[in-house]
């Protein structure tokens, strides 16, 4: 069961500043564990952001993104209370969707 994301969506004027913290190991497939065995790649590959039912960001991500990644986006035309939905899918097919309201 993937870790829940922390989503913050703050309205500044008519622009929602969205910040998402995702809990994910983002293993590159190049690290070795204590026993010397290579840890297989396990990383978020794609993410989407929806605001008020419309897809605003469609992202693809690779192994160069930090562990427990944080992304920031800005969406114009948002209103207080708009629902922000963020989803991700990783290379193993694990997924996670969380939502927050624009404040």
């Amino acid at each position: 069961m993937a870790d829940p994301m922390k989503i913050r969506a703050q309205l500044k004027g008519d622009v929602a500043e969205i910040r998402v913290l995702m809990g994910h190991a983002m293993e590159t497939g190049q690290r070795k564990d204590a026993a010397g065995k290579t840890i297989p790649p396990h990383f978020i590959q794609s993410l989407t952001v929806e605001v008020a039912g419309k897809k605003v960001v469609d992202g693809q991500v690779g192994t160069s993104v930090s562990r427990n990644p944080v992304f920031g986006f800005k969406v114009k035309g948002a209103k207080a209370g708009d629902k922000v939905v963020v989803s991700w899918v990783d290379n193993k097919g694990d997924k996670r969707t969380d939502e927050a309201a624009v404040a």
């Binding site: 870790d3 922390k6 913050r8 809990g23 564990d33 204590a34 427990n68 944080v70 920031g72």
Partner: protein
């Protein structure tokens, strides 16, 4: 005077005899006491690091993920006794009270008969109230790779609940004062193959190791720097780490044997450092190198 005896006895218990007795500077490569940089001067790189750390702490600190986990652990019925910490654990402000508890530790707990820091108290509650075995918790007590121990998340949650509160270690309590004095002696105690004490690196202004400025924990200002940001998410390895971990890692860097988990000596060190920072604002969870 009694604390001096207790101090020596405690160190004997904590450290394995062989290495601790070796005061000869054996020819191990590389380790030198840190160079003295001009006092209070921070170079451009350091200032930039601080700027980016602050930015990252504000915009999204992965420590928050562990804060959430810690809150779940706090509220969940766990362990052989199937009891939650929320309904059984007193962090000093009453059973289940978390808000503001972190900045009032280390403190004396009558039911344990000891002064304890947050992690030690949480572990005590996990053992006494929830029925966990101490040796199980002490086996891998700190985060490593993709593993984060339950107590780390709990300490993270508890610390987060003292965000923006004044540090207030109860030094007026004679038990705490005694342990503080032991801590003061301990930071000056030289041991290990390099004859290092904590003060070697942290006992004066302006010291650094490579790119990191070292706080002077004998001063109020330096102690605050030392206390702030812990528990912290460490960028190296991407793991959540606690002050107990940090003390142990200092021991490692001094080539001391590793301290026993949740030992009296570590509590004494934390009491000394944290009390020196009394009266100043604890800003919550940090991001560390």
């Amino acid at each position: 005077m009694k604390y001096r005896i207790a101090f020596v006895a405690m160190l004997a218990l904590v450290m394995q005899p062989a290495s601790a007795q070796n005061k000869q500077a054996t020819a191990k490569t590389g380790a030198k006491p840190p160079a003295a940089a001009p006092a209070e001067q921070k170079d451009a790189a350091t200032l930039e690091f601080e700027k980016f750390r602050t930015q990252m702490e504000q915009e999204g600190n992965p420590a928050e993920l562990f804060e959430v986990k810690g809150e779940e652990f706090w509220k969940a019925k766990r362990g052989p006794k199937n009891v939650s910490l929320a309904e059984s654990c007193d962090l000093g402000l009453g059973i289940g009270v978390v808000k503001g508890a972190y900045v009032q530790m280390p403190r004396y707990f009558a039911d344990a008969g000891k002064v304890m820091d947050a992690e030690r108290r949480i572990v005590w509650c996990m053992v006494e109230k929830q029925g966990f075995k101490f040796n199980d918790l002490a086996k891998e007590p700190f985060a490593k790779g993709n593993y984060t121990p339950e107590q780390t998340s709990l300490v993270t949650y508890v610390a987060g609940q003292s965000k923006d509160m004044k540090i207030a270690v109860p030094l007026k309590d004679p038990h705490v004062k005694d342990v503080y004095e032991i801590g003061k002696e301990t930071v000056a105690y030289r041991a290990g193959p390099y004859d290092f004490s904590c003060n070697t690196c942290h006992g004066a202004d302006g010291k650094r190791i490579r790119m990191q400025n070292l706080p002077n924990i004998t001063t109020a200002k330096g102690s605050l720097t030392a206390v702030l940001g812990w528990p912290g998410y460490r960028m190296t390895g991407g793991v959540m780490l606690t002050p107990q971990w940090r003390m142990g890692d200092c021991f490692r860097q001094q080539r001391f044997p590793q301290p026993k988990y949740a030992s009296d000596t570590i509590t004494a060190l934390l009491t000394y450092m944290t009390a020196n920072a009394n009266g100043q604002m604890y800003k919550g969870l940090g991001i560390k190198r």
